[in-house]
Symmetry: C2
Subunit: 344 residues, 2 copies
DNA sequence: TGACTTTGGTAAAAGGTTTTCTCTCTGCAA
DNA sequence: TTGCAGAGAGAAAACCTTTTACCAAAGTCA
């Protein structure tokens, strides 16, 4: 019974550079210089040290290294996006961009709790993170925690930042334009825009771009970000008299899905009778809708990549121009619009 | 123009314990002991040091502390779950449990790439993590990376682990039993189980528990984890002759959603005519279905909490019994079954 | 008064790595 | 033979904190 108890793995002593030096028959400083390719020494010595190090499985202790170099090769990603719908792709991009540089990422989900946010920020600072990326679920809201005057650089991604910092966000106007132009291109002229609440900044951006691109026929219906609103709005349109639209541009994929459902219930065929475009390219909604949704992808992973590289640049002291960077969107064509390969 | 360039925040010198000691007029060791509440000293001195430390905003450098104590107050969470559907709740639980202990979490998404996994594991070890939690998207698959013989403790959560380690997983049989018993309790007797692929271990566990709980009427349909399979299976059932079921127990929420859609298309009322139960409690699917799904929650957050506390215990050298811990599920009652408050 | 304990505090080592400075050769020109 | 340059390598400091060992002064007991 007692043998079944799990203890911490045997306390095998970590191999340090001392061991390498001893095994290679050189001093610690020579070993260090050999491994880091600096200092002067015979090529043979350098090779031997490296071989020995690899043989005995030496890996430098990042804590000790960081203590001296003031770089921990660690950054923090702060988010209040519980579902991870936006954070996850951003995180994936950040991680992908930074893993090559040996940087690991602390993920801190702070909900909307300022106290929790404060705790996490302090924990990260204690751990000497090289920088912080703040990300959220809304472009026009700040995280509930003060990130100014921190001793490390802060980059904002998909959340409102300070004016003197660098912020990455999607170009929603561009995304909306892509969608509408695609609909026009496949011959749809009567396009209605069903979208989310008016108090979202991106709702305005998308709606404005829609109006501009659609020319005269401006019809925007504001509601909430849910399937049921998409369903309800579509019902309203088809219940009222007058000419019906032949395309719906929806503010997100959930609304689009609700709209598609409502159309099917009325026996209206998507995409033959009506084309539907979503926004977000939230795979789990867009790809599972029948038919799968053509939608706008905000390229959040690329956004994360750039944010990661930027915070790294700042951490290394390389200059970066502050300001807001809008990243272009991408239209993902699936089957909810038709047009591309007629009746495949 | 040049002033617009953002540099790394002015290189304000970090305040160390030296500064505290100097400001309080004591030695460094006294300052340390005062702040950590050990050693002997006058109460007045201790207070004064603490006050000074807080005044000048001293925060101990976790790197230096970790170097000595061999504890970094950092753990790694390794996952191959890209969507984060399972990882995110687990992560939330881990983080919540550990933030109180000052532990931060590295999130490493390794897809299914062994090389990437290896890189991340090595990066974490270099950073002297106190432990690693491995999590995934399937109970019966290992992560594509070897975690045996690591110098730190490893705990498995929602993924297959080694026999000598500790593994946390959901008790799927319990979850399935909860679902079926609920259906029986509200008077449903003809229950069909529509579920995922046969090669999933949890599919068997759930199906077996269903058979056991449902008594005679065993009808299991295996397929894939998608809405369209739920839709298709439901269509099959209603297209073939014979008595129809009055309840569907689905292997996940997406299948359940497909089933609900198929029923609605046939004019069959949910929950009046047929009750539907899902599995996973994936809010975004379950709550947005019309009607919202009654479903089984695997309590992944609690699972994460326990995994976090366990890896912490191991890191601190406290003994833990190895083995598989099955955590109970919870039935989340929404509107897709009826019964609870008849025709509310 | 002498021996011993307690109190309040300091000096120094340890932890693992990098970097700067110094030292000792060897070879070569004067 | 002296002087010198440069190659190769080692010693030591630095990073910041915790901990152990130690010391001096003051109090306690016989």
């Amino acid at each position: 019974m007692r043998e079944d108890i799990l203890k911490t793995g045997g306390a095998k002593k970590r191999i340090t550079i001392h061991d390498v030096a001893a095994a290679a028959g050189v001093s610690i400083s020579t070993a260090s210089k050999a491994l880091n390719n600096n200092g002067r020494m015979g090529a043979e010595t350098r090779e031997r040290v490296k071989r020995v190090a690899s043989d005995i499985g030496f890996r430098p202790n990042a804590l000790a290294r960081g203590l001296l170099s003031k770089r921990s090769f660690t950054i923090g990603l702060l988010t209040n996006d519980t579902y991870g719908r936006f954070t996850l792709p951003v995180m994936a991009g950040v991680s992908e961009a930074l893993v090559d540089h040996g940087v690991s990422v602390f993920l801190c989900a702070i909900e909307d709790d300022p106290a929790l946010g404060q705790i996490h920020v302090e924990a990260m600072l204690d751990k000497q993170v090289d920088g912080i990326i703040a990300t959220g679920k809304r472009l026009d809201r700040r995280l509930p925690v003060d990130l100014s005057n921190l001793p490390v650089p802060v980059v904002y991604a998909f959340t409102e930042g300070t004016s003197d910092s660098v912020t990455f966000r999607s170009d929603d106007a561009h995304g909306a334009t892509l969608a509408v132009e695609w609909l026009l291109q496949i011959g749809r002229r009567r396009i209605v825009h069903i979208t989310g609440p008016k108090d979202f900044f991106s709702v305005h951006e998308r709606a404005d771009a829609y109006s501009k691109a659609a020319g005269g026929s401006e019809a925007v219906m504001y509601g909430v970000w849910s399937e049921s609103w998409g369903h309800q709005a579509t019902a309203e349109i088809w219940n009222r008299p007058g000419e019906k639209p032949n395309a719906l541009f929806c503010g997100n994929d959930q609304i689009a899905r609700g709209a598609v459902d409502a159309l099917r219930e009325r026996g209206i065929n998507v995409p033959d009778d009506v084309s539907v475009v979503g926004f977000d390219n939230w795979e789990i909604v867009a790809a599972q809708t029948r038919p799968p949704l053509t939608t706008v992808d905000m390229e959040l992973k690329e956004l994360g990549r750039q944010a990661g590289l930027t915070v790294l640049a700042l951490a290394e002291g390389r200059p970066v121009e502050p300001g807001v960077r809008k990243l272009p969107c991408r239209l993902v064509v699936r089957q909810s619009c038709g047009g591309v390969s007629p009746r495949e």
